[in-house]
Symmetry: C2
């Protein structure tokens, strides 16, 4: 299987420049170890790293495909990212969302000019494929796509530019697009650094899969137990192949550790993180013994918690 | 009176590079007008722009003064900024704080290796001057100091680098160090842009003073009414002279507008802002008719709200 290369990621970096935010690395001065930097992808447009992959996928389309438009399915940040990226490039976009998606996210997606189609939960992926064929739209997959992986990988490239002697990179794993791209970038540009994937224990399919050497399927109902709603997906064959090659170890975190990390990120790092964005900080704070020591970057992948849940977690 | 020049600010930019964060400008895609960029100084070490001035003031000391050490008085972010900057430069620091300062801030200041001296409220400024003379320490003033103003001005320089065609810059005004430095930078590098100072209406001494053409004193008890605890100070003659020259207009915001802006910053911009850091966003959202139209940068000056108050404001 052909994996994404550092050249693919460098080309993606040229394309996302000026549209994605060049997020800074934030040294955390409250940390007694003094070895934690955060990469706040929560500050991207739409509040997640997802815009990087969406921009790269849309930027690489030919003119004819751009004119016809793109389609995506998602209940989360990918929907808004594709809608936003399509708008920036003047490309029509259709987004298929499950009808249980929060109103606020549906409205945000619509505000970027996308046509939003709501279908019963469980049918949105199939509906997107159907519409893509019918209307000859290009499907922008959430992670199972080389251009998307290369786009997410620009996060890793920036880490090595800003902290060339980074020793540990903590990256959340769900479908694996971010971890695949970041792993490819880190292993090419800072090969001495360890890439550690982080999952909620309640959706720890990748930790188990990498231990066994092959993808495993966890029932959706099991994965749905975690509050980290952005980490309930599972890798595809393509992303899993990247993870096997580029990820040195996995750490799983508990729901309480995620909540505590969200509080710490708000009070100490002044960042609003969603549960999925807080798992890497949770690993750094609560699983020290499982991690290699040294200069560590934790990727804060997204900043869209449910507002009521966020207020409740902060209160305590 | 000699004002800070663009050369002073450019020299300061060289000094703070690598120690202060080069904060990005964040275009806010949820804003229907599409003209709002945030400058998140809340992401600096210690959570406020104050490190810029502290770094510049300490970096410009001669070796003998560095060896003797620095002293600062503050109940807020300036205390931590001086402690942190001194630690980074290996300079001893004494910080005088009022004994009513929140425990969490006193501990944070101490964690940066500073000697913290607590004195009754109202006596901390005098005590700092007394100790400075006694121990031959250099006083790093919170705003009434050209090196501090030049350091804060690097915020403005970065704005013009990242958005050369900026049209409006919204900056909070308290002692006026940030607005003085930012104003000097903007008027030199983007002279077409308007610099608008923002205050809580409950501490609107500068709006009144600029209207009258001279500094005015508001009773401390009046200024203490605002929740924006970082905006209760008043300009010195030095900062006021800068404000007269560089600030085009003042806007005052209500306490409810500040709270609403804090909620918007958390939910839409994914930033934890303290009340003082939210006043510029409050002006943009709630005082549109008083502002010139066009590409606007709102400086989010700090991110250290009282945690309980923050949770309460988010809950709504």
């Amino acid at each position: 299987m052909e994996l994404v290369t550092i050249s693919d990621i460098e080309a993606a970096a040229q394309r996302v420049r000026g549209v994605a935010v060049r997020t800074p690395l934030l040294l955390q001065t409250w940390d007694p170890r003094g070895t934690l930097w955060l990469k706040p992808e929560s500050l991207q447009p739409v509040g997640a790293f997802k815009v990087r992959g969406a921009f790269n996928a849309i930027a690489t389309l030919d003119d004819e495909s751009r004119a016809r438009g793109v389609i995506a399915y998602s209940s989360g940040n990918h929907a808004q990212a594709v809608a936003y990226a399509a708008q920036r490039y003047g490309v029509p976009a259709v987004i298929v969302v499950p009808d249980i998606a929060p109103r606020i996210k549906v409205e945000a997606t619509r505000s970027y000019g996308a046509e939003v189609i709501e279908v019963p939960i469980g049918e949105h992926e199939a509906k997107a494929h159907e519409l893509a064929a019918e209307r000859r739209l290009t499907l922008v997959a959430p992670f199972d796509d080389a251009a998307v992986i290369a786009g997410q990988g620009t996060t890793g490239l920036e880490i090595t530019e800003d902290l060339p002697d980074v020793e540990v990179v903590l990256v959340p794993v769900s479908g694996g697009g971010l971890a695949a791209g970041v792993g490819a970038a880190i292993k090419a540009r800072a090969p001495h650094a360890k890439v550690i994937g982080v999952e909620p224990a309640l959706a720890g399919d990748t930790a188990e899969g990498l231990r066994l050497g092959h993808r495993v399927d966890w029932p959706q109902a099991d994965r749905a137990r975690t509050i980290a709603d952005g980490l309930r997906a599972q890798p595809s064959e393509l992303t899993f192949a990247h993870l096997r090659k580029f990820v040195d170890a996995m750490v799983t975190v508990t729901e309480d550790e995620i909540r505590a990390a969200m509080r710490t990120l708000a009070s100490k790092a002044r960042l609003v993180a969603e549960p999925s964005g807080a798992v890497t900080t949770a690993a750094y704070l609560s699983h020290t013994a499982e991690l290699p020591p040294g200069r560590t970057v934790a990727i804060v992948s997204g900043g869209n918690p449910d507002p009521a849940m966020f207020a409740e977690i902060l209160a305590g």
